[in-house]
Amino acid sequence: MSATFLAPALHLPTGLRARLGGGAIVAAVPEFAPEEEQRLVMRAQAGDERAFEELVRAHVERLHAVVLRLVGDRHEAEEVVQESFLRAWRGIGSFRGGARFSTWLYRIGVNEATRRGARNATTFHADPRRRTGAREAADLSRAPEPSAEGHELQAALEVAILALAPEQRGPLVLRDVEGLGTTEAAAILGLEEAAFKSRLHRARRAVRKAVAPYLADGR
């Protein structure tokens, strides 16, 4: 089932929100200046566990947001986040300061999501259109609730993102949802910029078509 096919049912986004973003707001997230983050990374590399835990608190929410949209399942996303930080801690000694810590961390997260996808074809590499349709239909039917137009568009976007092929989903999530620059996003995905842009443009076209009924003029 494609996202377009699902569109008429998208006046019920609460179930989707429950699966993709229904958690409570986490406590205030510390934000570090680059120099402060660099100091934390160096301390962590020297074995300072508390320093690494500060990095966890700073990055856990955004990493979770990225991974959630890549794997499309909250439980799976939490496991990927857990495993990603474990791998990051074990490999912190190999991190080189040439890249941002977040770039390195996201790459670990993306790799972990992909690795699990390869292992578990039902959650990542299966036909994303059929998988998304079944899941979303179930979620939506559980939570009837009237919603504003903005929520309909938001729900349609979430469905459209999940309906993308995995190789297109990553570029769109990192660039357009998370707002990363092309260079950083391409580096996280291990892609040349030209390949990244090509996938991004195809993803945008697919999403734009899928959500057309929810845009201002229904285009």
Partner: protein, 88 residues
């Protein structure tokens, strides 16, 4: 659109050319000359104008999704607890 055969030919040529460049245009990746060409065509072509505007709206809405996503409460604590367990 109006005009003679040459103008129609130019219109169709620009229409084909513009179709694959909306995304790059909105990312500011087209040069000044190409950007002006696309804008000129979108001004003349209702269909391309609509596609461009739809893509603009889509990207704006995608950018608002991130702030709408919240991690489960306690995830950071759970990660840290897991790390401490792993370290023994």
């Amino acid at each position: 659109m109006s005009g003679g055969p040459l103008a129609r030919l130019r219109f169709m040529r620009d229409h084909m050319w513009a179709g694959s460049r909306f995304s790059a245009y909105l990312d500011g990746e087209l040069g000044a000359e190409e950007g002006a060409r696309l804008e000129h065509h979108a001004h003349q072509c209702k269909k391309c104008h609509q596609v461009l505007e739809a893509l603009r709206q889509t990207l704006a809405a995608l950018g608002r999704l991130s702030s709408a996503t919240q991690a489960p409460a306690g995830l950071a604590d759970a990660v840290i607890s897991n790390l401490r367990t792993d370290r023994g």
